[in-house]
Symmetry: C2
Subunit: 308 residues, 2 copies
């Protein structure tokens, strides 16, 4: 069976009524499974994770964008995260028996429908992008909701679908296909964000570090600790283990050690298996021939009563 993931981001992380409405919209769409809802007050932003078949995901993505447009007014929105739309970004991700082409085509159909029916201009991004610059979501989003009315009139910024006029309350939306990425953060035993930033700058691909790895240094609100916040965008090239070891090595240069790490959102078992392989030095390891889950078997947790 083909399974596609969709992880739309919405510019609402405080109003529970609206967040619940979005979750319900996902839940009541046939062929779709709601995996998770995650909201952040400071960012005033929510992320909904759904997975399902192509037609279910297509319908759910559109309905979620519609619900967001009807319930979120960007003119009233404040939050620290960059954003340009009520439904800010809608990525489609191939998970099971599915290629990126399917997700590219899906993103274009959904993008067109959002523009046609909801009157929200759409920019295609990442693998769906129609030019090099638009592959990068940050480039599209630069200037935010507030700057978009003017930006959309610039020569380079004709939307891929819809008119050169933002939706007054819902702004614009980025829609695209991308591969699964892992949001993986490593916490340091220091509050010095400069060290986290230096480590991030050294290990990320754009700094000549590990291929396909993205990294920034941030400061954690609660503990005040510094964190290297990463996106492992291709764990077959740079695994979570590679990223973890690189942070640990670089941290040593500053006399700093690693406290722990965290995974935000969902992770494929393959990515964890790849880390275990490297960490345990398992030779000739092949996920598809060794791991029961590769055969579509979902091994249950052992009954607690039988713990030896």
């Amino acid at each position: 069976m083909q399974i596609i993931e969709c992880v739309p981001n919405f510019s609402e992380g405080r109003n529970e009524k609206v967040i619940n409405l979005l979750a319900q919209t996902a839940q009541k769409t046939a062929g779709v499974m709601l995996l998770g809802v995650s909201s952040d007050y400071d960012h005033n932003r929510s992320v909904i994770t759904i997975a399902g078949n192509e037609s279910g995901i297509e319908e759910a993505a559109f309905l979620l964008c519609k619900t967001a447009a009807e319930n979120i007014d960007l003119r009233q929105h404040e939050g620290v995260h960059p954003r340009m739309g009520a439904a800010d970004v809608i990525p489609f991700i191939p998970l099971q028996n599915c290629g990126i082409e399917t997700c590219i085509n899906l993103s274009k159909r959904v993008g067109k429908r959002i523009a046609d029916e909801l009157k929200i201009p759409v920019f295609l991004y990442e693998h769906s992008a129609t030019n090099e610059e638009r592959k990068n979501l940050a480039a599209i989003r630069k200037g935010g909701f507030e700057g978009m009315s003017e930006k959309i009139l610039l020569e380079n910024w004709q939307p891929d679908y819809g008119e050169r006029k933002i939706n007054q309350s819902a702004g614009v939306c980025a829609v695209g296909a991308r591969y699964a990425l892992i949001a993986f953060n490593v916490n340091l035993n220091t509050g010095d964000i400069k060290i986290a930033k230096k480590i991030a700058a050294k290990i990320r691909e754009s700094g000549g570090g590990l291929k396909t790895l993205k990294a920034i240094g941030v400061s954690l609100n609660g503990s005040g600790l510094a964190q290297v916040s990463m996106n492992v965008t291709n764990y077959e090239v740079t695994s979570m283990h590679d990223a973890f070891c690189a942070v640990k090595e670089e941290a040593k240069r500053y006399g700093v050690s690693v406290l722990c790490s965290e995974v935000v959102g969902f992770v494929p078992a393959r990515a964890l298996a790849e880390s275990a392989r490297r960490c345990l030095m398992i030779k000739d390891f092949n996920y598809d021939t060794y791991v029961l889950e590769a055969f579509g078997i979902c091994v249950s947790k052992r009954e607690p009563s039988q713990m030896e």
Copy 2:
């Protein structure tokens, strides 16, 4: 859907015709998926791994035992592995939506049928055992095929099913329910098997080491290197990572290091995830809420053409 694994061991690892016949027997049973066939010349032994629904596995396990009885004559058998039957041991393992009780009941039905229809005495072992001593397969198998004619007459060794008389050519068979275990071996950069044996004796549960871990020291035929050969019988208690680290630590005391490790047979993604969790110090990690495979999704390998 309920999925049960069965990993019968057969006393034939050289005659390809017989090995193929066994594989075909598994393949043609409805409701059963053949995951793997592994044969060893020196041990003169083959292991077949199948998974499927209860009725399919029940039928396949019986038919495999029948095929083995018709094609393997223990009186002609030579090999270094301890054995007592043509189908030597038949374990049933709960994988998905299944408890150990289901596998215990299944083992009893199959055991009775083997005794009734094939005239092969059956001993129930592990979680199916009818007394403490029989929980341990090694205790049942002690003396091997050659000693079984006399052993079966001893007061303690009345079979659970069948008469006190071994099958002349097919011997006896152990049938039981157990949990999934991981055969995990760590290779040392020394040929000194004494060191491997000392490490194994120190780290295994029976030596006061890691709970639920079994370990022995062996010498590898090809390379002459020493290996700590382990069974991780409950990765929730002692993970592959714990076992690996224990070997590494102990090896240091002898000035020896770890070259690599290997997994023999199949492994649940949970076991690898648990090792990744400990290795990467991931806090608040929960397989059932973080890992896509826990939702029954089988994330495909990324298309090679799309490697970035």
